[in-house]
């Protein structure tokens, strides 16, 4: 569904993404993991057209989208849920959602979609008239996802959905990601620093380090991989070996 070949992205003078090739098959959840500054967010922005790739090919459903404008890419079925949610704080929950349907402009359809989103996230329905800025972090994340869904995407780019959330809330968000795939057949490319929660929901993953792909594999393979464990599961790993040492 989504295929990247040799994508380079420069962020100012920094060569943030280097020759990255990856693919996401229809219905797959794929995680991009890596430390801060590995180039994950830059790569997502390049896919959604917010950032320009300086070289390489990005294909969505067999169509080259590397030169397309972001709004055009949304209309093709690729929605980006940005890092830190970026909901419109002063607007109500409902207006935020309607803005997500901006690319379609069909009020009636949009309202029907909104009901579906309310069914999925009842808490948003309860707070539909409140300002988005008044929501908790987890609720804002649900709103950001809901807003992206309003464009009826076939593929969702999710940037750090768990960032700054309590573990329980984070779990809830990931549960919804899995449900979206299961119920709507949505394809998801997920960026996450928390490798463990990302790989728990993803089928496969790519590990980015200083802009390069270092390892790729199924989630199970990555969880067993040394580079992944050392760099991104470090603490849990130590705790685990400590426990084994005492046994």
């Amino acid at each position: 569904m989504l295929t990247l070949r040799n994508v380079d992205v420069h962020y100012g003078r920094v060569h943030a993404v280097r020759r990255v090739s990856l693919h996401v098959a229809p219905g797959e959840i794929v995680a991009l993991i890596g430390a801060n500054g590995a180039g994950k967010t830059t790569l997502l922005s390049a896919i959604s057209g917010v950032q320009r790739a300086s070289a390489g090919a990005i294909e969505f459903n067999g169509r080259d989208i590397v030169r397309e404008k972001p709004e055009r890419i949304v209309r093709l079925g690729l929605s980006h849920v940005p890092e830190r949610r970026l909901v419109f704080g002063p607007l109500t929950v409902e207006d935020n959602l309607l803005l997500g349907a901006y690319s379609r402009f069909k009020r009636r359809e949009a309202e029907a979609d909104m009901e579906e989103i309310y069914a999925m996230f009842p808490v948003l329905c309860e707070r539909r008239r409140q300002q988005a800025g008044a929501l908790s972090g987890g609720e804002q994340q649900m709103l950001a996802i809901g807003r992206a869904l309003m464009a009826r995407p076939r593929c969702l780019l999710l940037d750090e959905p768990g960032m700054g959330l309590a573990p329980q809330v984070c779990k809830e968000i990931f549960r919804h990601v899995a449900l979206l795939r299961q119920e709507k057949g949505l394809t998801v490319l997920l960026v996450e620093q928390n490798a463990k929660s990302a790989l728990a929901v993803a089928d496969r993953g790519y590990v980015l380090e200083t802009g390069r792909v270092l390892v790729s594999g199924t989630s199970e393979e990555l969880l067993a991989n040394r580079d992944v464990r050392r760099a991104y599961l470090g603490r849990e790993r130590e705790a685990e070996s400590g426990a084994r040492g005492r046994a």
Partner: protein
């Protein structure tokens, strides 16, 4: 479509496969450049930027890894992970020089098991089978490689290991073995033993046999199938790359499917190292795409074969390689034509009336190479059918000319007259041309 162990992967669209290969090649290059000093040094010396690889064909710009590199790195110099990540070690036999030690991470073992399960299923096996593995266990990858693969498949494994032929026969009878894994020469030896023990082969339960680790011929396949009453397939692997499971034949018996999602294959000229087009015979070069502990970049296998690019009727999209016809280190160049002693041998085996005891004598008359094959005929032909001698010689000479592309004279010599080595085999090649090896 025939059964596959991993159907979605084994019948993957070739374009998707190219994408997967590119992704994995790039990640492998990034990893070896970071973790393996030999590769880091080589890339630096040749000014190779592992990030500049935008296409699978770019792999041709990388230097080869040779068996000599592996020996020099003995024992752990080419490992890409620290030893604490390694859960298994194997070693290839050190027939010439030091052995080569190879390591596997937990993921490597899982991948290996799945790839062996693929060739078992391709060969006809399924989870209801009883798989008798008559390959050596231990440092050699053959026995344990098949063992894990058969377990991954869910079959019942009989780890018989090699040797003890009468015991193998007893196991085969009593346990009702359905799949037999061995070398082709051992399969024939077992057939002799079955005959000597007067065992009714039709009363055995054998269905399929997987034979590899040696060069063999269609004539041997026919003999094995006939004498053991099973369907025999060829398979290919080598410790330096993984062990068994690199490639295996499906039921079409027309070449071995390479698991190309894990191995990138090329065929190069055995002398110049130049890439050769699909279909042409040359040396097989393999780059691993998923190995963690012991990745290999453009490893020269020394095995001579060719890529069969046409799609296979079984539905697998993974390309096939033909039989291994020889070793590049055995290759002779006669009047500019590459000749493999193993090829000469298989052509001799097809001719009725001669034994596998032969030698190739190379001489030079003026600027021209002269090649002569001296072969010991069977006693029966020698004494009872003298009139047929010249007919046989002519027939073999014509076969050589058409199959090898160069004229080689044939002479029948007295049985037992050719010099033997310590293992009782005739010395295969006598080169009297006075050329250096590189000439």
């Amino acid at each position: 479509m025939r059964e596959c162990f991993e159907p979605a992967l084994e019948t993957m669209d070739r374009r998707e496969l190219a994408q997967v290969q590119l992704e994995r090649l790039q990640a492998t290059l990034n990893r070896v450049a970071r973790n393996v000093p030999l590769y880091r040094r080589r890339f630096a010396e040749r000014d190779i930027d592992p990030e500049a690889f935008a296409d699978l064909a770019d792999v041709r710009r990388l230097p080869f890894t040779t068996k000599a590199d592996l020996r020099e790195a003995y024992p752990y110099g080419l490992f890409a992970v620290p030893l604490r990540e390694v859960v298994r070690l194997h070693a290839s036999s050190g027939t010439s020089g030091k052995p080569v030690v190879v390591g596997y991470t937990r993921n490597d073992i899982k991948t290996w098991s799945r790839l062996v399960a693929r060739i078992l299923v391709a060969a006809g096996a399924n989870r209801d089978d009883l798989v008798q593995i008559a390959l050596g266990y231990g440092l050699f990858t053959g026995g344990i490689g098949f063992h894990y693969g058969a377990e991954a498949l869910g079959a019942a494994v009989i780890p018989a290991s090699s040797g003890g032929t009468r015991r193998q026969v007893a196991i085969m009878q009593d346990y009702r073995t359905t799949v037999f894994v061995a070398t082709p020469s051992y399969a024939l030896y077992l057939a002799d033993t079955l005959a000597a023990m007067d065992v009714n082969v039709n009363a055995l339960s054998l269905r399929f046999g997987l034979f590899g680790a040696e060069t063999w011929t269609e004539a041997m396949r026919a003999a094995i199938e006939d004498r053991l009453k099973l369907t025999a397939t060829d398979n290919y692997g080598l410790s330096e790359i993984m062990g068994p499971g690199v490639a295996g034949e499906c039921q079409m018996k027309a070449g071995m499917h390479v698991s190309e999602d894990h191995f990138l294959i090329e065929i190069v000229h055995p002398v110049t190292g130049e890439p050769l087009p699909d279909g042409e015979e040359g040396e097989l070069v393999i780059t691993t795409l998923t190995k963690e502990a012991f990745p290999m970049i453009r490893f020269r296998t020394g095995d001579i074969t060719r890529i069969l690019p046409e799609p296979c009727a079984c539905g697998r999209t993974m390309r096939r390689i033909g039989r291994i016809v020889g070793r590049s280190d055995d290759m002779l160049i006669v009047r500019g034509v590459n000749v493999f002693p193993s090829r000469v041998e298989s052509l001799l085996l097809e001719a009725e009336g001669v034994t596998p005891n032969y030698r190739i004598v190379l001489t030079r008359s003026g600027a021209l190479d002269e090649a002569l094959v001296e072969v010991e005929p069977t006693e029966e032909l020698l004494f009872d059918r003298v009139a047929e001698h010249q007919v046989l010689v002519d027939r073999i000479e014509r076969r050589f000319a058409s199959e090898l592309g160069v004229g080689i004279a044939v002479r029948l010599v007295e049985p037992g007259s050719l010099a033997r080595n310590v293992r009782g085999k005739t010395i295969r090649v006598v080169d009297q041309r006075g050329l250096g090896k590189d000439a």
